[in-house]
């Protein structure tokens, strides 16, 4: 069977080394980025000036997941973008190879394991869980049963002071007209178990503080989900003043960041009251409003923050003016100068909208310390000088262009390293329940390294050393056992 690439409008994909098993792709192709746990071999691959995620799996699953991701994209659900399915792969010697699913890497996104490579506060952890619960609610509203909700199967992006979660693995999912209560509750049961498993695993590897109770955190998801689901979908019975109640309901949904698309109004059987139930609820209320006003495409909480600033600006500077006009003024006088004030060599740190959010925060602290209002340009200058340089390069972590990044920021990379170096390329190749997993390599796996720019990560050397020693001991024991099967 000849090599077949379905889906992508990108002839350059043909040039990737499809005739080699993914686990042996040459290191100049591989972007050493942190990965979640995966049942399959997954590698990040440099392609053009971007990064692709390539996953080896069987052709039926690859095609199915591709369709599912496309369908989710059509429904505007937060998920990675499917690029192509590659089938008919074989080695030069004619040995058949697994099919592959290619997705685009989500810029500025972080797998949860990357967030644990720096000291993790409990606050961050609960925010991750909250972001995941919003994601699950949104997917459930769209009729998507995930079947394997976990921290590993999502990616996280900073979103003002919160996180936004994106689905990255749709392999086990199903699209339905509407989910049954059973499907929703089972998805949450799986989620809870998976999250607790993932956190226990982090504790075993000493990446998560012993003081944090995984069961506590894990059960938070369901509670948060239930709260949000109820707020979005509960039916209320009202006897009078229907327009007021509908408007009130819309306002409450907007506060939660959702829009009401359709509503069901049904007279009760005795005809004395009306039952209201939201039927179609869309996420992204604030990000859509900001997009309409300014053309800025940012995440929900960032949009909320920017809109607050915009509204404040409008109240003070352009009273009585049309909202669109005020937005234009704000964009040219406040937002753009702030973003332009970030030197080129620091732009890989954070997304522009996130920078703006942090400048606003910084301004608040400055104002509190000095006891007087601090103008935006002053706050920006102080932020760029004192705060931004201390941030890790997040675009470098999972940015669109690592090659470009390092060309632009040699000094910075030299100084900070890329922080999130994949310490062991095989560490996260999860053992898959029903096989399909590569056997452990007899020798040390090849280290993916770029000599010119990397310095070793020295966050937790002790733990790694102990880990290695324990593994070595395990291996010794292993030689005494008879081989399986």
């Amino acid at each position: 069977m000849p090599l077949l690439i379905t889906g992508a409008a990108d002839a350059g994909l043909m040039e990737l080394p499809w005739e080699m098993p993914l686990s042996t792709w040459p290191e100049e192709r591989i972007a050493a980025l942190p990965r979640g746990l995966s049942r399959h071999v997954v590698r990040f691959v440099r392609h053009g000036d971007g990064v692709l995620a390539v996953k080896e799996t069987n052709p039926e699953i690859a095609h199915r997941e591709f369709q599912m991701l496309r369908e989710l994209e059509r429904l505007d659900a937060p998920c990675v973008k499917a690029i192509a399915v590659v089938t008919g792969r074989q080695t030069a010697a004619g040995e058949p190879l697994s099919a592959a699913l290619v997705t685009e890497h989500l810029a500025f996104s972080l797998p949860y394991r990357a967030l644990f490579s720096t000291a993790l506060r409990k606050g961050t952890l609960t925010r991750l869980i909250d972001a995941l619960s919003v994601l699950v609610v949104r997917l459930h509203l769209a009729g998507f049963y995930w079947g394997d909700v976990s921290l590993s199967n999502a990616l996280f992006r900073r979103d003002a002071s919160e996180f936004s979660a994106y689905l990255v693995d749709a392999e086990t999912g199903d699209m339905h007209e509407r989910l049954t209560p059973g499907q929703r509750s089972y998805d949450l049961e799986i989620a809870t178990t998976n999250i607790i498993g993932e956190l226990l695993d982090l504790q075993e590897s000493e990446d998560l503080d012993e003081g944090i109770d995984p069961i506590d955190i894990g059960t938070r998801l369901e509670a948060r989900y239930d709260e949000l689901w109820a707020a979005l979908t509960f039916s209320e019975t009202i006897t009078k003043n229907v327009p007021f109640h509908v408007a009130e309901r819309v306002r409450k949904l907007n506060e939660l960041g959702f829009d009401l698309g359709e509503i069901d109004m049904q007279q009760t059987s005795d005809g004395t009251a009306i039952m209201l139930r939201p039927k179609v609820v869309d996420a992204g209320f604030h990000s859509r409003r900001l997009m309409r006003l300014t053309g800025l495409d940012v995440q929900e909480n960032q949009a909320r923050r920017l809109l607050n600033d915009l509204d404040e600006y409008r109240a003070v500077h352009t009273e009585g003016d049309d909202e669109t006009f005020a937005a234009h003024e704000w964009l040219t006088h406040i937002f753009e100068p702030t973003i332009r004030a970030v030197p080129r060599d620091l732009r890989g740190k954070l997304e522009p909208a996130q920078v703006f959010h942090e400048v606003l925060d910084h301004r608040w602290y400055l104002a509190e310390a000095s006891g007087a209002d601090v103008p935006m340009p002053v706050a920006t200058a102080s932020y760029v000088k004192n705060v931004l340089p201390t941030k890790a390069d997040e675009k470098a972590v999972l940015g669109r262009s690592i090659a470009e990044m390092t060309a632009e920021l040699p000094a910075l990379t030299k100084e900070h390293g890329t922080r999130y170096e994949a310490r062991d390329p095989y560490a996260n190749d999860n053992t898959h329940g029903w096989g399909g997993v590569p056997e452990p390599e007899p020798s040390e796996p090849p280290q993916v390294q770029r000599r010119s720019t990397r310095i070793p990560v020295s966050d937790r050397p002790q733990a790694r050393v102990r880990d290695r020693a324990a593994e070595a001991a395990d291996e010794e024991l292993g030689t005494l056992d008879s081989p399986d099967e």
Binding site: N58, D474, G478
Partner: protein, 385 residues
Amino acid sequence: MATVTYDSASRIYPGTERPAVDSLDLDIADGEFLVLVGPSGCGKSTSLRMLAGLEDIDKGSIWVGDRDVTHVQPKDRDIAMVFQSYALYPHMTVADNMGFALKIAKVDKSEIRKRVEEAAKILDLTEYLDRKPKALSGGQRQRVAMGRAIVRQPQVFLMDEPLSNLDAKLRVQTRTQIAALQRRLGTTTVYVTHDQVEALTMGDRIAVLKDGVLQQVGTPREMYDTPANVFVAGFIGSPAMNISTFKVENGYALVGNSKVQLQRETVAHMSEADHGEAVLGFRPESLDRVAPNTEGALPVDVVVVEELGSDAFVYGQLPQPLVKQGDVKFGGSGEVIVRVDPRDVPKKGDSIWVKIREGEQHVFSAATGERISPTAVSTAATPKA
């Protein structure tokens, strides 16, 4: 341990008229391994998910033991879906990987250890309990994943195409393991697959579904020897049964210039709606090669010969025309597969004569596709010399 009963259970998706599962009646015995099998869209997965609580039951009910679970939430049904997607956590020991979910259920520590050890014994993993998954082989890892379901000690295991992720070789290995494990555990198990070979090799009994309707349920042997209708006849068995519709005159099916005698009781079961036609089925191994023009024999033009070492199959064509095309509901193409002696294979383009072995005909109504030949057919394992 428990029985499972589907009592006229139906699932009708909103906005559709035809039920996805239509009045399913099925009794699954305590400890039984039942396989739901059928082509894609037949309702097998939906049936399983109704039992799991993932699909609503719009009519009828489902019982686990003597408990009606129709409106019970999935987590309260005491059922475990065994996942193809179970992850193993790399830094946790095998024992923790198997037992951690019990911690969430607030099971006592010593009880967890006890259950993990019991499961490990059944799974041959005892000596690996304190290792990390990385140190295990692929097969052992699969067993750890199964261990996660076993330690929960549910009443029923559910498995939905658990082998679909695997390559062909590992699939055969794993299906044997699952079947053996189920027999050791003795836990009632419902297993869904689209693969009839998997169904035949694993199940105590098989239930074949099509378009949401249960076609037949029985042991692998019964399904193979006495298919209840043309669909089951064609679905179960590989290579598939030869199925063609023929004109019937005076108790004989007319095949070109040849005549095949049908059993008298079979002919008696034909109805007016059949318009003097019947569907005749015979398995590739139910044919003997005979001399040309032997009475009751059929000529077959050899199109392709497939040699498998232990077996050889002739893919051929019956003489045309069979019956008026267009009127035929079942098997109008006249294609036929014959198992032949691998040491004596005809060449492409040859014409061979074959005769259906006595008592190895399956006859179905040309109008309804229902079986009309009364007796079970037992096929010999190898062709007669």
